[in-house]
Symmetry: C2
Subunit: 255 residues, 2 copies
């Protein structure tokens, strides 16, 4: 596909690219084009291996996610790395799961680049918050059922998550909780304490959009117990739209 502008990648620039929710074919055309031009790729834990196969063999690949028993590279070091490689005049792709501006710390990386005077581009991605429910047959909005949706993460430090306005969040038609599997007992209790009905349907989807996708449906009262067998990464969706999951089921990963 030709774009009216020159869309070649530029050396000395950092591209903050959303890899999408898991299914590697859900990366954007722009994102894939940049991966294929990359000289340096800095990537996280949730990036599908098929995407890294698109990177030229000569490119430098830097993994900055968590490994068993080790922490991820600290955020400041990731930012320093991006700045360093851009100053060496490389085409730098910073590849993040989902969308770079949805709880991806992309905003912090963009600020660090701006403050260092490094040119950058944001390449949005398909967010797990919408696509993972979609692969489980759940639309985040539906006429007559849900006219608004909100997205939060359970991954932040305790204080920041607890400081959210849960009495407001509890009243949004559809609520998506990203990276919240381990905190599900606490988050479902918070929603119930703030007035959300205990019988509200809830789905937990593990490894969404991939061949390993699994999901469990329950209610705000029992989902924390029902979902204990699922693995991370998981997306939690709360609201009446979850009732559509059976009728709209279309994605059946091979067993």
């Amino acid at each position: 596909m030709q774009h009216p502008h020159n869309r070649s990648a530029e050396p000395g620039k950092v591209y903050l690219v959303g890899a999408g929710p898991g299914d590697p074919e859900l990366i954007t055309v722009r994102g894939l084009s940049l991966l294929r031009q990359a000289e340096v790729v800095v990537y996280d834990r949730l990036v599908h291996p098929a995407l890294l196969e698109e990177v030229p063999p000569t490119a430098e690949r830097i993994y900055v996610g968590k490994t068993p028993g080790r922490h991820a590279l600290p955020q400041e070091k990731i930012q320093a790395l991006l700045i360093d490689r851009a100053r060496r005049n490389r085409i730098v792709v910073r590849l993040k799961g989902g969308d770079p501006f949805v709880f991806g710390r992309g905003g912090e990386e963009a600020r660090a680049l701006a403050q260092a005077g490094i040119p950058f581009e944001i390449v949005p991605g398909v967010t797990s918050a919408i696509a993972v429910p979609a692969y489980a047959g759940i639309p985040v909005t539906q006429r007559g059922v849900a006219g608004a949706f909100a997205v939060v993460t359970g991954h932040r430090c305790d204080l920041e998550t607890l400081a959210l306005d849960w009495s407001a969040l509890a009243r949004i038609d559809t609520l998506v909780l990203l990276m919240s599997l381990r905190r599900l007992p606490e988050l479902t209790r918070l929603l119930r304490e703030n007035g959300r009905a205990p019988e509200t349907p809830v789905a937990v989807i593990s490894n969404g959009t991939t061949t390993a996708q699994q999901h469990v449906v329950g209610t705000l009262a029992d989902i924390a117990e029902r979902a204990t067998s699922l693995n991370t990464p998981a997306t939690v969706i709360v609201g009446e739209v979850v009732r559509l999951a059976n009728e709209l089921a279309w994605f059946h990963p091979a067993p």
Copy 2:
């Protein structure tokens, strides 16, 4: 890119494909692949012409959006059309702006297909709600600034929009209003009446992610007046993250 599964398009199936927010390179790899295999394409007003150029010349193209002085094809007729073409054993792509499950009536189309026994697939897209702010330098979430975001539309009939819980929406850190330009005076008043501070920063972005992108920044008190010169389609973003727009500006469409 090869996927472990057979990802060829199947005849007699309907693909509900998100075209993304405007920039044609923000369509997914999967979406573009399906467009190139399509035998029938049913598309809306906000789909970029460059995407239609990817459709084989032999394919049937059916425009179902609004035209000046004429209404769009009614929803029931769109659904009947999809079912008819699938029953004729065609590869049918239903191409929608943004993501098919974010106020795109994709859920209604999927239900109609399920009820008619037509196989379908959802191909999520990059939503304007996240990507349009990103192209204006505004992350919908930012550590220490916004730990939640919510999305609504002003495009629904009066009753459905007014029936939303505005007192809850007014308290979400970042609020994105899609297709709300014409109702901006009413929606900003609703937010103020429900306790959102009048000095809250607001951005209105017109033709986001395209070469025609324009934006205006103001506050909840004055944005309706400031934005009168902008054209639809427009995305409105309310919250402290809007203050990052200057620092993170990176997309400068040619004049």
